[in-house]
Symmetry: C2
Subunit: 200 residues, 2 copies
């Protein structure tokens, strides 16, 4: 496409590097910023720069945090004996939103994916091991990873690394989603949910 | 939602002010920037700042332009006798992509919309009138506006302002899109396309 100016061409190029945003949406966003108040663009670019330059991570769980130790790791109210291992910050937010979990977290910062060139050493796995070694009060590890090929691979790897510790290792339940329709559930989920049926 | 840090909260707030981006997508974009190289965020924020601070508009047609007079208005190859009136830059790009038009443009910078508080004085209408007055070679005005309530209102207003000039005023054809299925065309479009049928 022939853009009417170099400035808009560069803006569209940079915006469309973001995941899920194509050239057309990028152009729409760029024209929106051009039409709206200058302060909106200033606030946006400042927020993004600050985010990228100043964000720090909790030394214990590797979640994004303003302090050295995040609110969850530093809280006396949270159960110290249980750690949910998750892929990233979004999963922490998703689990926190359920209000059903009061334990700790450990953010891996990704998932083992040979396709993307991400191996175990790229993830916060060693720090999980030393965290367990240093905290004998930890009794259970929940592998709260997505039920995908990569998630299962990561879960198997973690289970292998953790099996010599006196720990209970669990995984979040898989089955038919609540409100889901039996008829429209895929065969694998439905098959597994029959095999791993639970007492009523 | 309780964000793990103030920085990410502010970034999500600012990103989600963009049209069509909700809080969840904004969080995904923010986390993407956090994971990718610092230069990506720098390039993005620079491109956006430059766009907003330095963008200039063509003095003749009000399209975005690096020069005082844009490439289209300044070109000897383009037909000077015909002006397509469009809502914004995206419409210029869309029409240019068809390679079917070789005339001039006039970018209104919006559309008359009482709901959004946009009246004729907020648009580049006066400059269109003086452009026609100063260029007697202009013979035709194409009202290339979207066939919506606001587009039709704007077209009627322009037609009233322009009717005393010795001009042909036309509008882009409305009808069934090429490749469209008669059966699934809405009644209004189909009805109009019968009323305004053309010779085969």
């Amino acid at each position: 496409m022939n853009y009417p100016s170099k400035l808009i061409e560069e803006a569209v190029l940079e915006i469309s590097k973001l995941p899920g945003i194509g050239k057309k949406s990028a152009l729409r966003l760029a024209l929106h910023l051009l039409k709206s108040d200058k302060s909106q663009t200033q606030n946006l670019t400042e927020a993004l720069s600050n985010l990228r330059e100043k964000t720090t991570y909790c030394k214990t769980c590797h979640n994004i945090s303003d302090q050295e130790i995040c609110n969850i790791c530093g809280s006396h109210r949270r159960d110290q004996s249980i750690i949910a291992v998750v892929q990233d910050t979004r999963d922490v937010l998703a689990i926190e939103n359920t209000s059903q979990y009061s334990g700790q977290y450990h953010v891996l910062g990704g998932i083992i994916s040979p396709m993307m060139g991400i191996g175990p050493n790229d993830l916060n796995i060693d720090s999980l091991i030393s965290r367990i070694e240093q905290n004998p009060e930890v009794k259970e590890i929940i592998l709260a990873l997505s039920p995908t090929m990569e998630g299962d691979t990561t879960a198997f790897y973690l289970q292998k690394r953790l099996r010599d510790f006196p720990l209970k290792i669990s995984t979040i339940a898989r089955g038919i989603p609540i409100g889901g329709d039996l008829e429209y559930t895929d065969e694998i989920t439905l098959g597994r949910s029959i095999l791993s049926r639970i007492d009523f």
